[in-house]
Each structure stands twice: as structure tokens, then as C-alpha cells.
């Protein structure tokens, strides 16, 4: 029932401190995963569409899941999501939003753009730890991924 193969996550987060928090907490679930971290929307697109410094497919294997912040420099999260959904090959790629905003308008917009899930970074340390642990179990251990 559980996935045995490591899940590759493309983690798009511009704040290095937030990236560290998410990763350290994710690590606690000890679930097999490989993670690529990029710091802005343009790099995320470069990775997914194999352009720029990620032109070589060997440097940019297809991720199973994208963990995406909304407010990013250069190209913002929603635009990245839109480009993924509009692409024939990538349109089924699961995208989980992980962001600071809990504004209703942002949540609605994300789902309108067909995000698979919307998570809000908690202020409380324990809550953030629990969140990442649950995220890990749900997506890495239980969720089945489509072949792209």
C-alpha cells in the first residue's frame, strides 16, 4: 500500500529560512524522498521545461510532486501553476501550495488554477512540524502518482 520508491519533489521556495524549516520538519517523517530546491518562479519553470541551466534532462529529472510557494520573485507561484497545467506533458503533475497567506482570495485563486492542495505555513512551531509530517505521510507514503 505504501510507496516504496523515493518520491522526487520540486520545492519552490524563495525564503531560505522557510526552506530550512520545511526541510528539517519533513526529514522527521523519515520517508524516502529526493528533493530539488529552487528559489524563484523562473528557475522552477527552467527546471520543469528543461531550459536555461536545466536544459540537460539529466540535471532535471521529472518530479512526482511540486511543493510551491505563491509569492516568488520573477515569476510568481500562480503563473508557474498555470504554465504547468497548460502543458500537455505536465498538466497532471500534482502541485501542493505551501504559503504564508491564508487569504480567502488566494485560496480560491489557487484552486481555480487547479492546485491539488493548499497548505498555510503555521506560525506555531509544533503546528509546522505536524504539518510537514502529515504532508510527508499523505503525499509520500500514501498518495499514488500519475505517470507523466
Amino acid at each position: 500500500m505504501k510507496n516504496t520508491e523515493p518520491v522526487l519533489i520540486l520545492f519552490v521556495e524563495d525564503d531560505p529560512a522557510h526552506a530550512e524549516i520545511a526541510l528539517r520538519n519533513l526529514g522527521k517523517s523519515r520517508l524516502a524522498n529526493k528533493l530539488v530546491h529552487v528559489e524563484d518562479g523562473q528557475l522552477a519553470l527552467d527546471y520543469l521545461f528543461r531550459q536555461g541551466k536545466y536544459a540537460d534532462p539529466k540535471s532535471s529529472p521529472r518530479p512526482h510532486l511540486v511543493l510551491l510557494d505563491l509569492r516568488l520573485p520573477k515569476v510568481d507561484g500562480l503563473e508557474v501553476l498555470e504554465k504547468i497545467r497548460n502543458d500537455k506533458e505536465l498538466s497532471n503533475l500534482p502541485v501542493v501550495i505551501l504559503t504564508t497567506s491564508d487569504a480567502e482570495s488566494d485560496i480560491i485563486k489557487a484552486y481555480k488554477h487547479n492546485a491539488n492542495s493548499y497548505l498555510v505555513k503555521p506560525l506555531d512551531f509544533n503546528n509546522f512540524a505536524d504539518l510537514m509530517e502529515s504532508f510527508g505521510f499523505y503525499w509520500l507514503a500514501f498518495n499514488k502518482f500519475p505517470t507523466l
Binding site: A17, H18, I21, D40, P73, K74, T100, A103, L123, F125
Partner: protein
Amino acid sequence: MAGIENNEKSPKDLLLELEKMQNKIDILESSKKENQKTLEHLTKSEEKFKTLFENITEGVALHELIYDQSGKPINYRVIDVNPAYKTHTGLDPEQIVGKSATEIYGTNIPPYFEKFSTVAISGKAYSFETYFPPMKKHFIISVVSPQQDHFATVFEDITQHKNREEELKQKNEEMARFVYTVSHDLKSPLVTIKSFIGFLKEDMENNDVEALEKDINHIHSAASKMGILLDELLELSRVGRKDDIKSEIPLKEITDAALELVAGRIENSKINIIVTKKPILLNGSKQRLIQLYQNLIDNASKFMGDQQDPIIEIGFDKRDEDMVFFVKDNGSGIDLRYSHKIFDLFEKLDKKTEGTGIGLSLVKRIVETHNGTIWFESEGNGKGTIFYFTLEGTKVEPKEEII
């Protein structure tokens, strides 16, 4: 009495007739007085109306309907307009009195014909707001019918009012975006602080001193960042409020002060600065204008990229009627894909540079409080950037002329 002839009247009869005549004269007199009173009344009334007509600030126009042969109203004619009419429409009375609507406006259908004719026929007053394309103006118009088949319009040009409404709407939207941005940008470092405080406990449990130090630094940076954000926001909100306004400040004084503030970075990056020698005088807040130049110059020097021979030029052009200032650099330029975000609060296109990203927001705000506009041109990719802006009330010192 005996011996009275037909035509002769007795003194008594004469007296009676005299009385009757006196009565008639009295009646005529009182009638005349009444008529005079009525005339005075009418005259006063007419004067009242005339005073209103002549002095009212709204435009007033009297019209009558024009009918076709079958008795159907098809047009209307202007009978009279008040002096204010020209103020609101720009049209001269000679151009329009006595003419029909279709003649005046050159249209096939007389403007607002349905509304006007309905009032003229029913006698029921009506008022509405409208945009009138031939004059490119917004009006509020009241229509009333003083007599059958006639109508009068009392109207006002509200174009400015409408524009201000639109401006207010935009400012409110800007405000909402501002609040959203601020709350997000303050929440972010707070998340960091709270999470790393949690990690500190773990580090202590693991006796990991190195991790402890690193995590404390994260907390420290985030707290500092919040402090800076708050300070800058306060600064931004203060622009235009307590600013000390002076007139005829020489541009040189401003640029000298700004360059001094950025001197360190300029020297380190060995940037060549060129400043116009034209004697320009500015009106406004000296402190804010220095801030304006300081931020633009600082930005230019931070984004020199790989430029081996960095130059920043500070100058000014005369374009038609406007005096346009510019700060030009030959650095890395601005990627036009992100150009619409350039003046957004806290928006940094390159995360690795110093600063919170408030600089250009501050610059824009300062320009706006000086009734100017700011824009930029850049071809990106190492081809440099030019920031242009206007400021109200600038002039060149009288003894020099611009060729």
C-alpha cells in the same frame, strides 16, 4: 318741481351723477393700483427669475420641441441660454440660439431626445448623469417643462468630479494591495522566528552547539528584517505629510547631498558619475528630493552587473513643454518580463541584493507627492536602464537658456 325740461337735470341728479362718476374714478384708480401691483409683482418675479438665470453657476438652456407635419415631435430648438452655459459647454450663444439640436451637434438624432421630449410633453421633471461624447465631458442634467412643448435643462459639467471619483477608487485599490503586501511581508519573518525558536529546543536536546548558533542567527535576521520593514513603511507613509516645502532649490545641492550618501558604494564599484551642469531650480521638500536621488543612484550602482566601465548619468531633458529628469546607468538593465512589478512595495527582482525592496516604491511616492510621474526604459540584458521623472514647478535659472 315744476317746469323741469328733458335735458335739464336737477342739481340733485347732477350730484348723483357726480357721485357715480367719482365712484367710477375710484374703481378705476383702485384697478390701476391693482394693475400696478400686479405689474410690480410680475416685474419682481421676472427679475427674480432673470437674476437666477443670469447668475446661476449651472448652465441653463430653454428649448422648444419641433414637430413634423404629422404632429410628431422630431427635434428641438434652443430658445435661450444663460451666461453659464458657455462655461460648461464651451459653446457660444450665437452658435446655438435659434438653431436645432441636430444642427448644433451635427448628429442625426437630437441628443437625449427621448428623455427631453417626454418631459416637454408630460410636464414631469427628470434628472440624470451622462457622458456626452461630442464634448468628451460628463454632465448632470435636470430637465423641467415650464410650459407645454417646452423644456429647460439645468446642467453642470461634472467631468472633474468623475475623474476624482475614479482616482479615489484607484487609491483605495492601491491601499488594499498595500495592506495585503504589508501583512504578508511581516508574517513571513514571524513564521521564521517562531519555528526556529522551536528548533532551538531540539538543538539543546541534541547538544548541537553549531546548530544552536545557526538557528539563533536565523531568528536574529528575521527580527531585524521586521524592524527594517516597519521603519521603511513608516517612512513611506510619512512622505508628503510633514515635509518642509521650499522653492527654488538648486539641483546641484540635491545631487551633491545624494551622492555623498552613496559615496561608499560608488567608490567601491569605481562608478563614474556625470551630473548635468544646467542650473535647474526645484520646488519641493529638499529632504525628500535627496532621498529620491539617493535611491535611484543607489539602485543604479547595485545593478551594474558585469559592467567594466560603470557610468551613472544624472541629467535632464526638455521635451515639449515638460522638463524631464533622468538617472541613467549602463548596468544590467531590467528584464521587461518583470517590469510591471518594478515599483511594487518590497518587490525585489534579484533576491541576493541588499535592501528590502522598498526603494522604488519610496521614489514613486516622492515623485507623486511632487505632482510628477515616473517611468523607465530598459532593453534589459546589460544594456542599462534610464529612469525618467517629472516634478511640478521646476525651472531653469533665468539667466541661462536651454538651447
